[in-house]
Each structure stands twice: as structure tokens, then as C-alpha cells.
């Protein structure tokens, strides 16, 4: 495996830097967040910021001065956002876009579930390194949100693995590319009725995992002054905002890959556009709509909500998948 990576290195470098890698994530992630803020504004009868607002925010922050507080641990404080963003982009490489995966055969679903931990852990370490009490409260809430989102995510992924496994006859199948191929042949997983509760559960997990409005107790600007990013300014903060945007893209494209894999033509360019369109619809429905309608929850309500309502839905689909529906 390592050998042929060096062989067609240029192609892989292209994957990392351009298509499902940095450029794609940067542009599509920022666009998604722009569309999200615009939709929320429109739902409140406001004109709302231009779609390219996240780009302006990013470049403004790059121009700002970076202040490292005296109480902070300098290197961890500055390196944490970069590692978080890099890990997030690497996850995007493993997610199939209608059958085409940049690096298949390297990580299966459970590994992707755990790779999603690294960006969150990087943000937590950055917050811990800044030494601010607001950041301390923020990271404690972020950790509780991660625990809350972990259970439903696990149940959904096990249900998907079991359903595809039943069809392939091996009983369970963890690898993403096999799931993508299965959906190519017999249609998206959403069409199977045992998968509908799992899709809804995954949709409910997306706002929690990305920390968008009703579940953004970790970065509550009003209560704990931007929570984990309280002491960040300038370029590191720009990288954190960018990784938030890329996380929205990663989770929605994972949702599309898992449940809407069947939709799409063969040509890679069109598939990219179609998948991005589906991601926009997913963001609109699950993040913007929920943001405009709800108020921020207390952290123990977030935990209770995820471990009862959403996990129950995911459990329903797991049991259905288990008995071969």
C-alpha cells in the first residue's frame, strides 16, 4: 500500500491538496456556512450577510494580530488549531463521493468515528492551553457534548454496517467503499425503511457534533465569552473558524455518503456538484432551520436529549437491521 502511494504520488497529492482535500474543503465549507447564516437571517426576515461573509471573516482574522496570553502554554496554544484542521481534512479524504473515494482501504466506519474525535480534542487542548477559566468551562461542556453525540453515532454506524452486511452476506461490513458500492447497485440506503430512523438520528447528531446553534453550549458567546476560543485572536482563530466550516462539510457529506449514496451520475465532476447540492440541502434542513427555530439548551439538557431521544431512534433502526428487516 505504501509503495503505490509513492508511485502515483502526484495524483494522491492532487487528492490531498485540491479535490477532496484542502481547496474543496475550504471553498465548500465556507460556502456552506455562508448559506447557513444567510438562511437563518432570511428566516428571521433579515437581509443577512452576503454568502461570501465567511471568506471575509477568514481573511480579516488572518490580518489581525495574534496575542498569546502570558498564562497560556505557547506551543500547544498555537499548534492545536493547525492539527485539528489537518485531521479534519484527512477525514474528508476517506468519505466516498458517489463511489469515488480518494483513499479507500485505509480506514473503515469505526475508524472514521474515532478520527472525528481528533479535531474536537485539538480544540479542547487549545482551550486548555489558553488557561482561561471561560475556556475551562467551554472545554468541559464540549467534552460532555462529545460524550452525548458518541452513543447515537455509534448506534447509527453499527446499524448501517449490519444492514449492508446482511445484504452482502458477511453479516457485517465496516468498510466505507463497500457501503458505497452497495448503494450504487441497489439504491440509496434511505430507501430501506429500517434505515429511516437511523438517518433521522444521524441528522439530529449533525448540529450537536458541529456545535451549531441549539447545541453550541461550548462556544456560547453570551454566557462564557466564546467558550473555548475565548483567548484566541488573529490567525489561530481563523483556522478554528475554518475547521468549524470544514466540519459542517464533513458531517453533511458523511450523511450524504451513508444514506444518499445511490444518487448521482458516473462522472466525478457532476457527482461532486450533486453531492455538494445535497450537502447544502442537508445543512439547510438540519442546521439552519434548527438554528432559526430553537433557543440554546443547557448542557445537561443537551446530554439528556441525545442519550434518550436520538439514541432511541438509532436503537430502533439497529434492532430492525439486526432482525434483517
Amino acid at each position: 500500500m505504501t509503495a503505490n502511494i509513492f508511485l502515483n504520488g502526484l495524483q494522491y497529492l492532487g487528492y490531498i491538496l485540491i479535490f477532496p482535500g484542502f481547496l474543496f474543503c475550504f471553498l465548500c465549507g465556507m460556502l456552506l456556512v455562508g448559506i447557513d447564516r444567510k438562511l437563518v437571517a432570511r428566516m428571521q426576515k433579515r437581509v443577512g450577510p452576503p454568502i461570501l461573509q465567511p471568506f471575509y471573516d477568514f481573511f480579516k482574522l488572518c490580518g489581525k494580530e495574534t496575542i498569546v496570553p502570558a498564562a497560556a502554554e505557547r506551543t500547544t496554544f498555537l499548534v492545536a488549531p493547525i492539527v485539528g484542521l489537518a485531521a479534519l481534512v484527512v477525514i474528508q479524504l476517506f468519505i466516498p463521493i458517489h463511489g469515488f473515494t480518494a483513499f479507500s482501504g485505509m480506514a473503515d466506519i469505526v475508524v472514521i468515528l474515532y478520527l472525528l474525535l481528533i479535531p474536537a480534542l485539538a480544540a479542547i487542548l487549545g482551550a486548555a492551553a489558553s488557561g482561561s477559566p471561560y475556556a475551562g468551562i467551554g472545554l468541559s461542556r464540549e467534552m460532555v457534548t462529545i460524550i452525548a453525540c458518541e452513543l447515537p453515532l455509534v448506534l447509527v454506524l453499527l446499524a448501517v454496517a449490519k444492514t449492508v452486511g446482511n445484504a452482502l452476506g458477511t453479516g457485517l461490513c465496516f468498510s466505507m467503499s463497500e457501503i458505497a458500492e452497495y448503494q450504487l447497485q441497489n439504491g440509496s440506503l434511505i430507501t430501506k425503511f429500517s434505515m429511516i430512523p437511523a438517518a433521522i438520528a444521524f441528522a439530529m447528531v449533525i448540529p450537536g457534533e458541529t456545535g451549531s446553534h441549539p447545541f453550541d453550549t461550548a462556544e456560547a458567546e453570551t454566557e462564557i465569552c466564546e467558550g473555548m476560543h475565548a483567548e484566541y485572536s488573529g490567525a489561530p482563530l481563523a483556522v478554528f473558524k475554518l475547521s468549524h466550516a470544514v466540519k459542517v462539510l464533513t458531517l453533511t457529506s458523511l450523511f450524504v455518503a451513508l444514506f444518499f449514496g445511490g444518487i448521482g451520475t458516473g462522472i466525478i465532476a457532476f457527482d461532486g456538484v450533486i453531492v455538494f447540492a445535497l450537502c447544502v440541502v442537508a445543512t439547510a434542513l438540519f442546521i439552519s432551520f434548527v438554528h432559526a427555530v430553537t433557543a440554546r439548551l443547557k448542557i445537561e439538557q443537551v446530554f439528556k436529549y441525545y442519550w434518550t431521544v436520538v439514541s432511541g431512534l438509532a436503537l430502533v433502526s439497529l434492532v430492525l437491521a439486526w432482525y434483517g428487516m
Binding site: 428571521q44 443577512g48 466564546e226
Partner: protein
């Protein structure tokens, strides 16, 4: 190439940090009114930031009472460079009706270089937006010289 892009986007996405140094909350309500759907200053890119580290424009309301003076100054000092100090309402500019009181160290400009003064005892939202837009121009020039 970057310099122009950064200067351009500094003007397009100014983030506000609101410090209340003992105001009667008249100006605070007006500032929030500017963010509501009717006036919607967010279409120009404005956003309320939670901590001074993430702010570009610091909006100070209230007659800077003695109790809050050093707190206001330490908060302003924590805002990273290209920043703009905006005083809203006449209290921070002259102390308004509270001028001469033992506990008011009124004109903020005695302690900090103030860039934009928005006049009015509870200025109208249009005046606030005009002041804030002027502040973004100043930000852009400051960004250019840095």
C-alpha cells in the same frame, strides 16, 4: 496580493465588542436594536463578539464611572491591533447630565484615543449604523498602515 484582500475584508467583517461602563441601558438597547431584522446591521458583516480578543470595534456606552474605569481600559487593551474605539451616546463623550459628579471620569478620550463618537442621548439606529460604517473605514486605513 494578500494585503489588498485582507484590508478589503477587514472593512467587510468588523466584529463589535460592547462595553457598558455604567450606562442607563438606553444606548445598549439601541445598539441591540441595530441588529434586529428592521435595521439588520449584519448585512454589512457586523457581528457581536463575546470576548475582546475577537473584536475589531469596541463600542463603549455609559459615562465611564470610577468603578468601571480600569476595567474598561484593561478590556480595551486586550483587543488585538487594527482596532477602533467607538463611544456611543453623549455620556462617554462628555458625561452628559452626570458631568461633574465625583464618581464620573467622563470623557473617555482623556484615557484612550477615540476614533468615532456617535452623538445623541440614545442615538437613533441610523446614526449608530452611520457611525459604525465610518469606523470600518478607519479600520481599513489602520489595516493598510500596519
Amino acid at each position: 496580493m494578500f494585503k489588498k484582500l485582507i484590508a478589503e475584508s477587514t472593512a467587510k467583517s468588523p466584529w463589535l465588542f460592547h462595553i457598558n461602563s455604567g450606562s442607563c441601558n438606553g444606548c445598549d438597547i439601541e445598539l441591540v436594536a441595530v441588529l434586529t431584522p428592521r435595521y439588520d446591521v449584519e448585512r454589512l458583516g457586523f457581528k457581536l463578539a463575546g470576548s475582546p480578543r475577537q473584536a475589531d470595534i469596541v463600542v463603549v456606552t455609559g459615562p465611564v464611572t470610577r468603578q468601571s474605569l480600569d476595567r474598561v481600559l484593561s478590556a480595551i487593551s486586550q483587543v488585538p491591533e487594527p482596532r477602533c474605539i467607538v463611544t456611543m451616546g453623549s455620556c462617554p463623550q462628555s458625561g452628559n447630565v452626570f458631568k461633574g459628579s465625583y464618581s464620573v471620569c467622563a470623557p473617555l478620550s482623556k484615557y484612550v484615543h477615540v476614533d468615532v463618537d456617535i452623538a445623541g442621548c440614545a442615538p437613533k439606529p441610523e446614526a449608530i449604523m452611520d457611525g459604525l460604517v465610518k469606523a470600518t473605514e478607519i479600520l481599513k486605513q489602520k489595516r493598510g498602515q500596519m
